[in-house]
Symmetry: C2
Subunit: 350 residues, 2 copies
DNA sequence: CTGAAAGCGCTAACAA
DNA sequence: TTGTTAGCGCTTTCAG
């Protein structure tokens, strides 16, 4: 069943059917009605492939994320899907799992499927891949940082605001010894977050201890590994800020394992405010970055050059962050010293 | 740049280029090499839309999930993407968020995009929607239960095995008072899991207490709500099995809130074994259902009728489940009685 | 306002 | 083995 079948039954030409479907105002309402009736009767819908082939627009938006397994991303995808669909776009989601080879495949696949635009939410991308995309003039949106060209926008996350609130919160509580677990250090967003942390520390008149800046990788495992290193230090902090919530959850877990009580022995702050942060034990104090806001900005940034190609467009979109205080932070009542000692005893006994 | 450009530069006809790309064995190797060289030089790739339009196959597989926000699904999607890509398919993922209207839109979108097959991992679908899909003869794969027709397969999850192991584990520990928090009761999978539970209880000679079967909805919130109800009972169980891990995490949290110690006061068992279950506090004993196994089965089930249309195909795929014992279960040392009493005192004081 | 017809980029008969 | 050509289902000039 195709457009011809509809045209035949409605006694019009296929051009009229096409116009009706695309709601061109130049169609006689009577004819239009007749066409719609037939369409309904037949439960007809146009073939998207054919439509794209001729019009050159696929009405597909790509979304590349670094790790679909990190709850931050599904929450982002959900918003992205909702908003994209609302505007008539289909979405193509792909997870690179931090693998440059997969990233390259992703981009190739998106190009093959002729996506109308792609949101690259991987917190980093390599130059040559970028070239591939830019050359085809596909509208792009990045997070944090991206090339300054027509059709590419970047979501500027105000890391500083939320992180500073976190540091101030800790400082107000009386913490002076604060550690930071970063994301993968090659990512721009990791550096931004760390820089925001350092700056905020300085603002509060706290000196940063280099030994307390550990590299994580935005995963549970990374958080656990970093926490382990922290625990092994001769001089332990009373609070730790994490580059994302998964890291913080890993920290929470290692603390639990080591008998370090959170927040009494150690305050911890996450970043993202994924849904599950509300129910960790204890509930996680964290810096919220709205997935929905990001999703909205992505779609808006991609649509702008698509739907009004002639105009010059906004290139930057602001994403705000805010501290959500829950129960993983409190006054520095004790330090972890006594626990480390008892741990050592245990260790030598093993 | 199109197939014609390649043909021109390689001094062959477009048909030869097409044949080369599709690796038909009837192409002279010399010509083929020339064609490939040009393709490489131009960084050419075929237009998928055009290809699909004529061949009738989109090489897209749909995947409909009920809630992308439940970590079970991203883990499933990851596997599905990996395997589908391996076989040359693109994937279209959609989350219905348990909304029948969204489900209906999903299906319509998949049909419009001419998917070659769709995996419906929503643990339930309404008949009329199903009709839409079957009429178009799209290969389908369901979980647990589906219509018995050509081209549709179903993944039979052996809930009984894992759940029985859970119950036996609890019984061996000495538990006799075991609660169960189900999924949304209209879902077939919820009923299967509950049935498996009841049966296993019976096998162990334990009588089921109807008051201890609560309805959840596979979310954190559902788990919390159910746990709250459990806590309010005059007669509380010593263990609780949950229909999925998110529910269990909600239970863990409410227990923590109420001062109920897990596992000392209450043992809890989850279902799914999502990644985060390893680091809950305490780490969750749970029934594992392999996402990767499911993903593999989905793709296999969808590919079979697609790639060998004439043959009759296996209609059912077995998915196994297994208990993973971690630390949320132990002997029933105490009951929750004393806590309930103290809680009441607190309550009257508020 | 409507219809006829020319493609969009590709595959698959059919010829050569 | 290779080339020519007729569409796949639709949008979009261009006439009428």
């Amino acid at each position: 069943m195709d457009i011809r079948a509809v045209a035949r039954l409605a006694n019009v030409s296929i051009a009229t059917v096409s116009r009706t479907i695309n709601r061109l105002p130049t169609v006689n309402p009577k004819l239009a009605k007749r066409v719609w009736d037939v369409i309904e009767e037949l439960d007809y819908f146009p073939n998207t492939q054919a439509r794209s082939l001729v019009s050159g627009r696929s009405w597909i938006l790509g979304l590349i994320v670094s790790e679909i397994t990190n709850p931050f991303f599904p929450e982002l995808i959900q918003g992205f899907e909702e908003i994209a669909i609302e505007h008539g776009y289909e979405i193509l989601v792909s997870s690179t799992n931090h693998d440059p080879k997969r990233m390259s495949h992703c981009i190739r696949r998106m190009l093959e499927r002729k996506v109308d635009g792609v949101a690259i939410m991987t917190f980093g991308i390599e130059e040559p891949l970028l070239e591939q995309l830019s050359q085809r003039k596909v509208p792009l949106v990045f997070i944090d940082v991206g090339p300054d060209r027509a059709g590419v926008s970047v979501l500027k996350v105000d890391y500083h605001h939320g992180i500073r609130q976190g540091v101030q919160h800790l400082a107000a509580l009386g913490h002076r010894n604060i550690a930071f677990i970063t994301g993968p250090k090659h990512l721009h967003s990791s550096q931004s977050r760390l820089k925001a942390f350092s700056l905020s520390l300085e603002e509060c008149g706290i000196t940063q201890n280099a030994a307390w800046v550990l590299e994580g990788n935005h995963t549970l495992e990374g958080g656990m590994a970093a926490m382990e290193k922290l625990l092994a230090l001769s001089n332990t902090p009373t609070a730790v800020m994490c580059s994302n919530d998964m890291t913080a959850i890993g920290v929470l877990h290692k603390a639990y394992r080591a008998g370090v009580r959170v927040p009494d022995d150690l305050s911890v702050i996450g970043f993202d405010d994924i849904h599950i942060a509300e129910v960790t034990i204890p509930p996680l104090t964290t810096v919220q970055m709205s997935r929905f806001e990001i999703a909205k900005a992505c779609v808006a940034a991609l649509r702008a050059p698509l739907e009004e190609p002639k105009l010059a467009h906004k290139r930057e979109y602001e994403i705000s962050t805010d501290l959500i205080v829950r129960e993983s932070t409190t006054f520095p009542k004790g330090t972890m010293e006594h626990l480390r000692t008892s741990k050592r005893v245990k260790k030598s006994g093993t």
